[in-house]
């Protein structure tokens, strides 16, 4: 028995020491990423007046560079395609933890899926995983139950099969990242879009509590830090969903600022300005961003 315990202990100690060499792989992982926005955020390199947070609607429809030029506020886009409001809350908290507090936050709203359990928008753990060398990120991944508590002690437990991607992630040809963190859609999708006037009824029953809570937290964080929070409804290639909008209004206080795209602008009924039903091409994004700039400038 004594020999068995001695060997088990020795093996465990040796493993504990040797496995630390996995740190090398953890160090390498962020360098292979094409999108380094989150790492810059953790390293305190995103000190801007205005931040754009949201999913793909924020990433491609709101051009941070143009906003900076038109409003005079230094701007950066921290929107991630396919991300949900829980992830947006994480981005905001991270921005405040490691960077200068922004004056304004634009929160791109997913109309009508912002609060419902839609699997196309989710907590983007894949964005966090290459950055597990950072304790802050690892802690978040443990909270999200992606990493387990062993990852506090073992480097290997922070590794993931995605770390064994030998090729660097390359820039997407459809929507490359610009220096302001925006991912404007520059290549048209071969898709014939048909404008629809039908408005589907919004069902509260499909809402997820965690998403509603995250949305409330974003409001609270902004109000506690004196940050101007502006909600942004970008155009879809279909009639504006007033059913969702009504529900949304019930979740925000009366004096909060909401930008809804200009529904009278015929451009938003022209399919050449759209990539698909929910996303604008860059020329459409330019028009919509001008509307946002006008709103900000008129509310200064």
């Amino acid at each position: 028995m004594r020999l068995f315990l001695k060997h088990i202990l020795l093996f465990a100690v040796l493993f504990f020491i040797i496995e630390k060499s996995a740190w090398f792989l953890l160090e390498l992982a962020p360098n292979r990423q094409y999108d380094r926005r989150l790492e810059n955020l953790i390293n305190g390199k995103i000190n801007k007046d205005l931040l754009v947070i949201g999913s793909s609607r924020g990433a491609g429809n709101i051009l941070a560079g143009q906003l900076e030029k038109q409003t005079g506020l230094t701007s950066y886009n921290l929107s991630y395609q396919g991300s949900n409001v829980n992830f947006h809350e994480f981005i905001l908290k991270t921005a405040l933890k490691f960077n200068k507090k922004p004056k304004t936050v634009l929160l791109a709203i997913d109309n009508p899926t912002q609060f419902i359990g839609d699997i196309s928008i989710r907590y983007r753990v894949d964005v966090l995983q290459p950055l597990t060398k950072y304790n802050y990120i690892n802690k978040t991944l443990v909270k999200e139950k992606v990493n387990n508590t062993l990852s506090y002690a073992f480097c290997l437990a922070r590794l993931n099969k995605n770390h064994f991607r030998f090729k660097n992630r390359e820039a997407p040809t459809m929507n490359p990242l610009d220096s302001f963190g925006t991912m404007p859609l520059i290549k048209k999708k071969n898709l014939n879009l048909v404008y629809s006037d039908t408005i589907s009824a919004y069902s509260k029953a499909l809402e997820e509590d965690s998403r509603l809570k995250a949305f409330k937290n974003i409001q609270l964080i902004c109000s506690e830090n004196n940050i101007e929070l502006i909600y942004v409804f970008s155009p879809n290639f279909r009639a504006f969903n007033t059913s969702f909008y009504k529900r949304f209004k019930a979740l925000v206080t009366k004096n909060q600022k909401i930008i809804v795209f200009n529904q009278d602008n015929q451009v938003y009924e022209n399919q050449s300005y759209f990539y698909d039903y929910a996303h604008l091409m860059d020329k459409g994004a330019k028009i919509f961003t001008s509307e946002i700039s006008d709103f900000i400038n008129s509310n200064k």
């Binding site: 060997h7 040796l14 496995e19 996995a22 753990v125 992606v146 073992f154």
Partner: protein
């Protein structure tokens, strides 16, 4: 409690220390510790269902003692049937009640009359199919006077609830496991190290192979209509490795854990995917269940005695019941039926016991004939697994229809290179170790400790890294 959880990683060393250092002087105390540990292990999932295990154990313990006293054949038969009715009654209610109700409703609807079903929201107690069969084997063996009933209730409770194999087997016979509780266990270094090695390999199978295959198999099976034939083939192959890795991985962890406590459980899997025909496959797959059915159903039905018709009938009964044991769904019954069909030509040609040895027993690689036989057998099992995995019989047929068309020759849209490399590594190690009880039983034993430990560390590292984001429950928990 799951083997692949941090709870178990704490639970096991605590029980180990208490077992060998605190209670080791007193056999009864050691057995009592095992009972308590097993109940904690089971109750971690849902303590309410502990009462079922306790009740089932007490019924069979009492009936065992009564059988010993009773001399009249009619009374002995009555006692036996009481045990069967209680045990299968629980199993039938928790596992099959809704299935029978739904099937009756479907049958009535088919003949034009509509009835309102009265199904219940029943939770299936984890492991009920396993421990029910284990306790039944005790009563039947006592009835057949193959085993003396025990008076030691603690040992009996420990036998029924022994935590390593409680929820997913191997289904142990009272004749093998129960006597081990009566004897003082000695700690043997080699046995404990061997146990650790088997646990390690079990975790590799479960965490690396099964869980990662599950990710892709689920993705493909859940949207099968959207995939090409070649991708559907990949999906079926991934499920084939998932179910093997999952279930045999569990058995390895169970057997290895038992060895840490000085117990020897029976081998449950003997490299079934290297089988040369279906009969061999069934001698190597879920051995504890196959032999249970052989001894307690097939042989009492007449076995292979009697004419051809009897043999065919008994074979179909065994496979259909085996399918039904796995779950209350027609897919499992069809899976059983399909295996019976595969078995039939061998039975009729009296070739069902030709491949009793290990493939390529005296050589490193199989010859062409063996390779073709293995390929064919593997192919047949892959097709059968489609029924096992599918949501419904219709889904299985649509899946197979989608698989067998010209798109089978295209490049699959889902082909995770990392996983395919790991599967090849896994097959290689399993092939090397095919003559042993588990693949790495003697692997590198002739090498220095340094080399051996380096290999184990590599395996642990792979387990850490390929620990799937979507950790899967053990498939056989649902049975």
């Amino acid at each position: 409690m799951y083997f692949n959880s941090l709870d178990f990683a704490l639970f096991l060393p605590i029980v180990f220390v208490l077992y060998w250092f605190v209670t080791n002087k007193n056999l009864k105390l050691q057995n009592a510790l095992l009972v308590v540990a097993s109940y904690v292990f089971y109750g971690w999932w849902d303590w309410r269902f502990l009462s079922l295990i306790v009740f089932s154990s007490l019924v069979d313990y009492t009936i065992g003692l009564q059988l010993n006293k009773a001399a009249q054949p009619s009374k002995r038969k009555l006692l036996l049937w009481s045990s069967i009715l209680v045990n299968l009654g629980f199993l039938g209610f928790f596992k099959y009640y809704n299935f029978f109700i739904d099937s009756f409703v479907d049958a009535f609807s088919f003949f034009g009359s509509s009835i309102q079903p009265n199904t219940l929201d029943i939770i299936l107690p984890v492991g009920i199919s396993f421990y029910t069969f284990q306790t039944l084997s005790y009563t039947i063996d006592v009835y057949k006077r193959k085993l003396e009933p025990t008076q030691d209730i603690i040992s009996f409770l420990a036998f029924v609830s022994f935590f390593p194999q409680l929820v997913a087997g191997p289904i142990e016979r009272a004749t093998n496991l129960l006597p081990q509780f009566f004897k003082k266990r000695q700690f043997h270094y080699s046995q404990a190290v061997d146990g650790c090695r088997q646990i390690l390999w079990g975790f590799f199978k479960k965490v690396v192979i099964a869980d990662n295959c599950a990710e892709y198999a689920n993705q493909i099976f859940n949207n099968s209509s959207e995939h090409t034939g070649s991708t559907l083939l990949i999906g079926a192959l991934f499920f084939t490795f998932q179910i093997y890795g999952d279930f045999s991985g569990y058995s390895d962890i169970a057997i290895g854990t038992s060895r840490l406590f000085g117990f020897n459980l029976k081998q449950n899997f003997a490299f079934p995917y290297f089988s040369r025909d279906i009969a061999e496959f069934w001698r190597r797959w879920h051995i504890s269940l196959s032999t249970w059915f052989r001894d307690y159903l097939y042989i009492p039905l007449g076995g292979s005695q009697g004419g051809t018709w009897m043999k065919v009938r008994n074979t179909f009964i065994i496979f259909l019941v085996s399918g039904f044991w796995h779950g209350a769904n027609w897919t499992f019954i069809i899976w059983g039926f399909l295996n019976a069909l595969y078995f039939l030509p061998l039975l009729l040609a009296k070739r069902n016991r030709t491949n009793l040895d290990v493939v390529a027993q005296d050589s490193k690689l199989p010859n062409i004939k063996e390779l073709v036989q293995m390929g064919l057998t593997f192919g047949l099992t892959v097709i059968a697994w489609v029924f096992f995995r599918a949501e419904s019989v219709t889904h299985a047929f649509t899946y197979l229809k989608g698989l067998f068309n010209t798109s089978l020759l295209t490049v699959p849209t889902i082909r995770p290179t990392n996983l395919l490399v790991l599967i090849l590594f896994f097959i290689g190690i399993e092939w090397i170790g095919r003559r042993q009880h588990y693949a790495i039983e003697v692997l590198l034993l002739k090498q220095s400790r340094g080399i051996r430990w380096a290999f184990y560390m590599i395996i642990i590292s792979i387990i850490f890294v390929f620990n799937s984001d979507n950790q899967q429950e053990f498939i056989y928990f649902q049975f």
